[in-house]
């Protein structure tokens, strides 16, 4: 099995993060009068990197509205593929080779309520997904010998599943451990929560000997529908902006 990430997007996100980080520090260093700051910029007190199931990599800006309430706005990159997952689906004499691609990059706006001096937070909000699709291609792993013919997996056929979550906006519920704004310069916090995703629409495009398996669309749609609670476990490395 091997995994792949679309690296250009990863680079762009990294670049955005670096530019934000550098520009904020530059502004601070210039000691421009506070009155000339836009209020929203003044309110931003932390910038953080995230990694987890909401995004392979994300960046967010955090601010406290008052000692109990805070806001986070972030962007998360999630474009992940797994190629060559092998299974016989616990049913067959032959193994299938499965390629999966999950795309759910998003921007999110989260509101937080701090408890215990902000070390524990209750978080809610929503995310707008730029893309919200799961694609999977299934075909035989090995060649198939039928008498004198060594048939390739492509010859036997494949079926390609596309699950498209119909709504691009999903609510988020969760809790967080650790402060939104670091007490010192840097802190590490942890998010645990879930997105509630919309009902997926499943389409199957099948070929050759298995071409009629599009008749399984409804069953697979029902199966995937059980996965609407997308779990979020995410580490957040925050930097305090003075």
């Amino acid at each position: 099995m091997n995994f792949g990430i679309t690296t250009p997007i990863l680079k762009v996100i990294t670049l955005i993060f670096v530019l934000l980080f550098v520009s904020l520090n530059t502004i601070d260093a210039q000691e421009i009068e506070a009155s000339s700051y836009p209020k929203v910029v003044k309110a931003v007190k932390s910038i953080a990197l995230n990694a987890g199931t909401k995004g392979i990599l994300g960046v967010d800006l955090g601010m406290n509205l008052n000692p109990s309430f805070g806001l986070r706005v972030g962007i998360n990159y999630f474009d992940l593929s797994v190629n060559g997952y092998e299974t016989n689906l616990n049913r067959f004499a032959y193994y299938a080779d499965i390629d999966l691609t999950l795309k759910q990059s998003n921007i999110e706006l989260l509101a937080e309520y701090a408890i215990n001096d902000g070390k524990f937070r209750v978080v809610t909000g929503f995310a707008f997904f730029f893309n919200n699709t799961l694609r999977g291609k299934v075909q035989l792993r090995d060649h198939f010998t039928l008498n004198d013919v060594d048939l390739t997996p492509e010859e036997i056929g494949y079926f390609q599943l596309t699950a498209d979550f119909s709504s691009r906006i999903s609510p988020y519920f969760g809790i967080a451990f650790g402060k939104l704004i670091p007490s010192n310069q840097i802190n590490l916090s942890f998010d645990l929560g879930t997105y509630y995703k919309s009902k997926p629409l499943v389409e199957i495009d099948a070929t050759n000997v298995i071409r009629n398996n599009d008749l399984n669309e409804d069953v697979i749609e029902r199966n995937i529908t059980q996965y609407r609670w997308w779990p979020v476990l995410s580490l957040r490395l925050a930097y305090k902006i003075n």
Partner: protein
């Protein structure tokens, strides 16, 4: 250490650890939970089905028919079960026709512009070897007929002479002449061998002893004889004297023979001195080159059939002369044995084959299938060139493959099969077979309204012991009107779905499925004139199905929708044995032991 890589790897492991194993305590396999496996039967494509019949239709075929594939694309031809060796399917209920489905892998690319070309050599003890070339241009199943000639019972258009003589070690002890009988067209052939001529086998070994000769002379005025001529007269390729390709050719023979000699079980292939062959030619025939009746002084081409590459090869030219009695004759020296002809041929060269565009608003492409027997004629001679079946649906484009360089016309006949067609429904205008476009409007001409539209959808489910496997058959169903001896395609089931409009109420028909071991023949079934119920019982499996025949309100169509057939476990097991779609990983299916059912 590459930090970026490490980070990515950790991220990926983390994410997929959660997604694949944590969420809903599920695994990827759970996504497939409750699904049904829909499997098609056409692992290989079946673009061509060949029926083999005796040249005298209606006579039982021998049991020892064997088939050899030669030609350019021979390596791309299989049985539909992926076997290199082709097997003909015979049926005890129908001994007069053997069926040979041809399989082609899905990875092969072929089209009208890039057809698969191959030749079949079909043999049986006591029969002349049938050598016929085929072109596959589309995935859609076509049906072709090959006739086998029983040497003990040749057809009228073929004269067969046998002769026996002694060939001593030193060669023939005297001059020898073998002649065919004079046919109705006042044509015949004589073979002359000089004293001292020695005989050799294909490896150059000298042969001596008792020699048996079979001389077959073809009446080249007969379409039947031309169909039996090994190699045929419309070919995808021929060779000049140097072996260079001549491309697509259509020949017009003016005399043709097949000459075979045997010393014991060894076949004579060549001679120390060429044998002299003399054709007596009918002066009413047209010379291809001059366009005029053949006459003294004309030059004719000589071709022999190279059985190794299954192509005609030019051997030289021969002058037409007159003998002492004033008969037109052509004599040449023949150094080796096979099938030879004199005459001429033409090809399209680089010009494309003629296209025929069909308008027929009575028959949309998705309407019930019905194939019409169509015969192509040489417009100069009115001789039959070839027969083939077409649907002639609205918008159909037909390309004349392997037919070239003559003016031609075609006729469409009522009736389905080569031995059961009568009423002429349509005759085209004369057109050129190269680089021409022909537009025909058949609306209202093909009696389409008189036939019942039958829509079929069948799917069979195996029990839970077989993963609830659902099998959707893809195969041609053959039919013939009661009393006929050859089959035609009733329709093609594609993934269990098909339709036909080839049957008439109250008429009796035979039906046959012949799919490399899957053999079923139902004879003498009447198409019900009104609603009824039919019970189908399998002689092999514990299987019974009740078929309700219910006409729609206008009485012109019937739907047979049976998508919930419980396939007997025995049949499912045979399928599993063949294709390896098994319920556990320890099973040993897949490499071809069984077949998907015999005699069901």
């Amino acid at each position: 250490m590459n930090i970026s890589f490490t980070f990515r790897a950790l991220a990926i492991i983390f994410v997929f650890g959660l997604v694949l194993n944590t969420q809903s305590c599920s695994k990827l396999e759970d996504l497939a939970s409750g699904t049904t496996v829909y499997i098609e039967t056409d692992v290989l494509l079946n673009p061509l089905t060949i029926q083999i019949v005796d040249a005298h239709l209606g006579i039982p075929l021998p049991a020892d028919i064997s088939v050899e594939v030669v030609g350019k694309d021979k390596d791309k031809i299989f049985s539909i079960m992926g076997e290199r060796t082709l097997f003909v399917d015979t049926n005890r209920d129908d001994e007069v026709a053997a069926i040979l489905p041809i399989g082609v892998r899905r990875i092969e690319n072929f089209s009208v512009d890039n057809p698969l070309e191959f030749t079949l050599k079909i043999k049986a003890e006591g029969y002349m070897e049938a050598i016929e070339s085929f072109s596959i241009v589309s995935e859609r199943n076509k049906m072709k007929t090959v006739r086998l000639l029983n040497l003990a019972n040749p057809v009228q258009s073929i004269s067969k002479e046998t002769s026996d003589f002694l060939a001593p070690v030193g060669g023939l002890s005297a001059d020898l002449q073998i002649s065919s009988s004079m046919n109705e067209e006042e044509e015949m052939v004589t073979i002359d061998m000089e004293e001292g001529t020695e005989l050799y086998d294909i490896e150059g070994n000298k042969l001596s002893g008792d020699v048996h000769v079979d001389l077959i002379h073809y009446d080249i005025h007969s379409g039947e004889a031309l169909q039996l001529l090994p190699g045929g007269t419309s070919v995808a390729n021929a060779r000049d004297k140097q072996g260079n390709s001549l491309g697509n050719m259509t020949f017009r023979p003016m005399g043709a023979i097949s000459l075979d000699m045997y010393v014991g079980d060894k076949e004579v292939s060549a001679f120390s001195e060429p044998i002299e062959v003399t054709f007596y030619i009918n002066g009413d025939m047209k010379n291809v080159e001059t366009g005029q009746n053949v006459k003294e002084g004309d030059l004719l081409e000589i071709y022999s059939f190279n059985e190794l590459i299954a192509e005609w090869q030019m051997e030289g030219e021969v002058n037409v002369s007159k003998d002492a009695a004033g008969n037109l004759v052509a004599s040449y020296l023949q150094p080796h044995l096979s099938t030879w002809f004199i005459g001429g041929g033409r090809g399209c060269g680089r010009a494309p084959a003629t296209k025929i565009f069909v308008t027929n608003t009575d028959v949309p492409e998705d309407s019930g299938e019905r194939f019409y027997l169509t015969a192509l004629y040489d417009a100069d001679t009115d001789e039959l060139v070839s027969t083939e079946s077409f649907r002639f649906f609205d918008g159909e484009e037909i390309r004349l493959v392997r037919t070239s360089a003559f003016s031609a016309y075609f006729k469409i006949f009522e009736g389905a099969t080569e031995d059961c067609f009568d009423q002429e429904l349509f005759t085209s205008a004369v057109f050129e077979t190269c680089d021409d476009e022909v537009y025909i409007d058949l609306t209202g001409l093909l009696n389409a309204a008189d036939f019942v539209q039958i829509n079929v959808e069948v799917r069979g489910s195996c029990s839970t012991d077989f993963n609830e496997l659902v099998i959707s058959p893809t195969l041609p169903i053959l039919y013939r009107p009661d009393g006929c001896d050859t089959w035609n395609t009733l329709g093609v089931l594609l993934s269990g779905k098909g339709n036909t409009k080839a049957l008439q109420k109250g008429e009796m028909y035979d039906f046959r499925i012949s799919y490399r071991g899957l053999e079923r023949c139902l004879l003498g079934l009447e198409v019900p004139a009104s609603n009824t119920t039919i019970e189908i019982n399998s002689p092999v499996y514990d299987f019974q199905e009740t078929i309700e025949v219910v006409y729609d309100a206008d009485g012109k169509s019937i739907d047979f929708i049976y998508t919930d057939i419980d396939v007997p476990d025995l049949a499912c097991q045979e399928y599993v044995d063949t294709f390896g779609v098994d319920s556990d990983s320890d099973s040993n299916g897949g490499t071809g032991g069984g077949r998907p059912g015999d005699d069901d």
